[in-house]
């Protein structure tokens, strides 16, 4: 066991800005060489989210799942466990919420809405519980099991959408809609912004308080920083990391519940999008610091919405931005090495 296993805390902004500048610069040269209008491309990426009300709302809607999945990755990371199963946990949450929203139709909103959210959170936690149990009981690496559960979840989602409550009118694997009372209320009517963002921000705050201000959170961080030392001080190391995974699963499940109850109002195949990748990116860029996760997640949501606009209007593949983000991540990580010397 290495003596220190956690990422260094987010330090001053200079290395971040340098990394962003270098990555965007390199990608810009690349795009220019291919004959694209770089200035227009970059202004589209950076400004789409702020120019119109629609852009703002779209960004906030993207921000919610990215934030929650980033938390789902970052909380276990505090115990130095890698939850790469956020996608499957989100899908499990979406399946659970959709099932509750369909089965409990007829109940008043005050009963069905909490039930839908709880079902999503519970299903996500349950989905993470199997890898957590395998880790606790048999020591199986969570890097493997969490990611394998993603592939299992695709089958579950497809099964529920085509065999459970299929919407036969849709051309895509989709369930029938959840009860109208099960939908999250809107904060803004047009363009629609649902109340899920409050749930997400609330969860982000609660998790940060839990990890940084409670005894259990301290034990969690101690386990991640130096498992052997933590064990010698009587911290139940063997139990903490699996529980952190389950907590991560619950957060991802909440994301799934919000996608169903707030955005799609049904279980729809493809609900997971590429949130998992973005969330790993956010977690690593934020150096596992839960307080830094929300602003970084917001920045990533801005880039993602902008990149999609750029693809629509300029035919530049959206993956350009992913590569840039990957480069930023590498440069930011490299800056640690420089700082250590």
């Amino acid at each position: 066991m290495n003596t220190r296993r956690h990422l260094p805390p987010a330090g001053d902004a200079v290395p971040y800005l340098a990394a962003v500048a270098v990555a965007f610069g390199a990608a810009g040269i690349f795009l220019a060489a291919l004959g694209f209008d770089v200035v227009r491309a970059y202004s589209t990426i950076l400004l789409t989210s702020f120019r119109t009300a629609n852009g703002v709302i779209q960004t906030l809607l993207k921000f919610v799942p990215v934030l929650l999945l980033a938390l789902a990755f970052t909380v276990p990371l505090a115990a130095w466990k890698f939850n790469i199963g956020g996608e499957g946990q989100l899908i499990a949450g979406a399946v659970g919420s959709a099932a509750a929203g369909i089965l409990l139709a007829g109940l008043p909103a005050a009963a069905i809405l909490p039930a839908v959210v709880v079902a999503g959170v519970g299903a996500g936690a349950l989905w993470a519980a199997l890898p957590a149990w395998l880790l606790y009981r048999f020591g199986v690496s969570e890097i493997l099991t969490t990611v394998l559960m993603n592939f299992v979840s695709f089958g579950v989602m497809d099964y529920v959408a085509t065999e459970g409550w299929p919407d036969t009118a849709a051309g895509h694997p989709t369930t029938i809609p959840i009860a109208p009372a099960a939908r999250l209320p809107l904060l803004v009517a047009s363009p629609p912004l649902h109340a899920g963002i409050l749930l997400a921000l609330g969860a982000a705050g609660a998790v940060a308080v839990f990890v940084y201000r409670t005894a259990a959170g301290y034990e969690l961080r101690a386990t991640g920083a130096n498992a052997r030392a933590a064990m010698l001080h009587g911290i139940p190391v063997g139990r903490i990391a699996p529980l952190a995974l389950v907590l991560g699963g619950a957060l991802a499940g909440l994301a799934g519940a919000i996608e169903v109850a707030g955005v799609h109002h049904r279980l729809i195949e493809g609900v997971q999008s590429n949130y998992l990748l973005l969330s790993i990116l956010v977690g690593l860029l934020a150096r596992g610091n839960l307080v830094a996760v929300p602003p970084v997640a917001f920045a990533i949501a801005v880039l993602d919405v902008g990149a999609r606009a750029m693809q629509r209007t300029m035919m530049i593949p959206v993956e350009v931005v992913f590569v840039v983000e990957g480069l930023v991540l590498v440069f930011v990580l490299l800056s640690d090495v420089v700082r250590r010397r």
Binding site: G139, P317, E319
Partner: protein, 307 residues
């Protein structure tokens, strides 16, 4: 009999990626970027073959070069710069995933019908391929099927019966001791990580050249992650990895079979089979597996005490 034939065909990416993971792991570098490297290998392998007018060898070489570059970055960041192996590996996974699609889109653009390359031809082994049954099952395959089996044998001999192989084992078990015996730990780590990633890139290139004749975003379907599991089952030993790959390939072929013939089981459940089977096997075996003692940890010769 065709079942075994199909298993032999399906074995290849698992063997190549598994042995590639094993090589780096034996030196203590735990590569977790397989899925990204395989995707990029599939993409550039396809593009190399497509842009050279259907020359599959060009595609394979390109995939190996690009895979090797991933390995070089992984080795430099972990061995020289002492960055955390999982963090770097996940970053490379992310970049590989993005890069594979980006390169394909930039080179091919958006088309209604995907461009195609030829698929690998079978090369019957002279003489042996005429054997009844056995010839059909084992000796009429594409070149990479033979290569995967031969590679496993070569790696076995190298690892257990040559001096560099024993030195490599020492590096993964106890780099301090290896270092004090004059073995260059860093060189070992670089060489095996680069060579291993070249194999992983080739494993990716195999997919479009055998299954689809084109590149699609979901082409790897977790085979990179499964290859990590495979390496654990195989106890980081070449011969057992070959055996484990047989199991993985058999499950994959079986899942495909049941899906096509349909036996009343929902096909979604069948599609989960390889992943569920992997986890089921891992449960009883994981604790007893032999893993290189220094796997996933960086060696810093200036830090004397490595707890």
């Amino acid at each position: 009999m065709t079942f075994i034939r199909l298993v032999m065909l399906t074995l290849v990416p698992y063997v190549l990626a598994g042995q590639g993971t094993m090589l780096a792991g034996r030196a203590g570098v735990f590569n977790v970027a397989q899925e990204g490297i395989m995707l990029t290998g599939a993409s550039v392998g396809f593009l190399g073959a497509y842009l050279s007018g259907g020359n599959l060898l060009d595609g394979m070489l390109l995939a190996m070069v690009v895979g090797g570059l991933f390995g070089l970055v992984l080795a430099a960041f972990t061995t020289t710069l002492k960055m955390d192996q999982f963090v770097v590996g996940l970053s490379l996974f992310f970049i590989g995933l993005a890069l594979s699609t980006l390169l394909y889109r930039l080179a091919v653009g958006v088309t209604l019908t995907p461009p195609l390359i030829p698929t690998l031809r079978d090369i019957p082994v002279p003489g042996l391929s005429r054997l009844p049954v056995l010839g059909e099952v084992f000796f009429r395959h594409n070149a990479l099927v033979y290569a995967a089996v031969v590679l496993s044998a070569v790696l076995y001999l190298l690892l257990y019966h040559t001096a560099p192989g024993l030195a490599l084992q020492a590096v993964g078990e106890n780099p301090m001791a290896a270092d004090s015996l004059g073995i260059n730990v860093a060189v070992m780590r670089y060489a095996t990580t680069v060579a291993g990633s070249m194999l992983i890139g080739l494993a990716g290139a195999y997919l479009p050249m055998v299954y689809t004749a084109t590149f699609t975003d979901g082409i790897v379907r977790g085979r990179g992650w499964l290859s990590i599991a495979l390496t654990f089952f195989g106890g980081w030993s070449p011969h057992l990895i070959l055996l484990g790959a047989l199991f993985f390939a058999a499950v994959e072929v079986l899942a495909f079979r049941v899906q096509v013939t349909g036996v009343g089981v929902p096909y979604q459940l069948i599609l989960m089979l390889p992943y569920l089977a992997t986890m089921a096997v891992m449960m009883p075996t994981f604790r007893r597996l032999r893993v290189p003692a220094f796997l996933g940890r960086n060696y810093d010769r200036e830090r004397r005490l490595q707890v």
